[in-house]
């Protein structure tokens, strides 16, 4: 990466972080949604400790999926509305790299808080201490992957009616492998089985998403801006 491109990458990340910090409600909203959704489950299925402990990994992971998906709205929509997205596409930088920068910033704002608060929610559900660590690790690997894959959906549906629901329709099926391996890792840990395989698969998925999703997203952005 040449100096100019590296400069553009860091500039993009810093810009998005700065914008999010100036509208702090965006960070908080995703987090609050996550906590609320997780809290709904005991209200729905009853507070029996063994049951909650059994469903905890799945519940936390599904809530993380939904929160990630809702947060996708803010990835490109703001820039699209004021014309800055067009300038980003017109910039003499690899668009995939610029997309990567935006997704990284997006994860720091909307994904990392989930990773940090998930152990607390796991405690609420009575997960043992070791499982909490695996939960955080699985989310740390999984939420960036969700961001990269979700970006494709966000780019495809830029400016369309029925945006939110349509994005979920496109993106949730693609999220399923991450869900299976992420929740599976925590369950394996809770049953005393080896966690390594699950986490490695999550990591592999993240690497593949990191390399290929930005280019699909860039193509989708160009299509949407025509």
């Amino acid at each position: 990466m040449s100096r100019g491109t590296l400069g553009a990458f860091t500039c993009m990340v810093r810009r998005d972080l700065l914008l999010a910090l100036r509208r702090r409600s965006e960070i908080v909203n995703t987090l609050v949604f996550f906590v609320i959704v997780v809290s709904l489950f005991p209200l729905g299925v009853g507070a029996e400790p063994a049951l909650l402990r059994a469903i905890a990994p799945g519940v936390v992971w599904v809530a993380a999926l939904l929160a990630s998906m809702l947060a996708l709205q803010r990835l490109f929509a703001g820039d699209h509305a004021d014309g800055t997205l067009e300038q980003i596409v017109l910039a003499p930088q690899p668009l995939g790299l610029m997309v990567g920068a935006k997704v990284l910033a997006h994860w720091l704002i909307a994904g990392l808080p989930l990773v940090l608060i998930a152990p607390l929610l796991g405690l609420q559900f009575g997960l043992p201490a070791a499982s909490l660590g695996i939960l955080a690790a699985s989310l740390a690997l999984g939420t960036p992957a969700l961001g990269f894959i979700g970006a494709i959906g966000a780019a495809l549906t830029l400016g369309l009616r029925g945006g939110g629901v349509l994005v979920s329709l496109l993106v949730l099926p693609l999220y399923i492998p991450v869900l299976i391996f992420g929740a599976g890792a925590v369950e394996a840990g809770a049953s005393g089985l080896a966690v390594g395989a699950h986490l490695s698969l999550l990591g592999a998925f993240l690497v593949v998403a990191l390399f290929f999703a930005p280019w699909a997203t860039a193509a989708a952005l160009r299509i949407a801006l025509e």
């Binding site: 100019g4 491109t5 400069g7 553009a8 500039c11 993009m12 810009r15 700065l18 914008l19 100036r22 509208r23 004021d82 014309g83 800055t84 067009e86 300038q87 980003i88 596409v89 017109l90 910039a91 003499p92 930088q93 690899p94 610029m98 801006l225 025509e226």
Partner: protein
Amino acid sequence: MLEAIGLACVRGERRLFRDLAFSLAPGTLLQVHGPNGSGKTSLLRILAGVLAPAAGEVRWSGRRIGALGDEYRRQLAYVGHQNAIKDDLSGVENLMVSERLAGADATVALARAALARLGLKGFEDVPTRALSQGQKRRAALARLAFRRACGLWVLDEPFVALDATAVREVQALVGDQLAAGGMVVLTTHQDVAIRAPLQQDLRLGT
């Protein structure tokens, strides 16, 4: 040298124009005229490379802009209808972002100077949300004051919402760009008094 060869544009189901061709030498100002809906904005977006034409191609120094990619975009400054500035950032911050994305080394001093040239002295550090429509347009156009060695400017209605002083300033900027050997393509409904040694006029919608 910018060339358009056999350009055609179809939006929705309407054919806006076909077999459009022109060629611009360095220092040329191309003014695109036409009623609303005649395809002026679409033409400018095709020249910028954002929109793919239904037929034909655009060439820069003999090579297709699609093939040139980033090399072409490095020499291009595009100002569309939208201001392309973030409301939550100040004028200076917006300019720094825009210049860094273009791969240029930007300093705050240069950004302030560019904003001052467009009459925004004293407003450089205010979030652009607090500026008036005309001031926002000036903040958007300050990008042009920054771009020294830029080959091609594509400006879509740059004078909208500007007062007389600002219009004169932007016209001076365009004049400087042309004098430096750059090219400018613009659309406007207003009368433009720019000293352009080479000028072409293109009329759409006829």
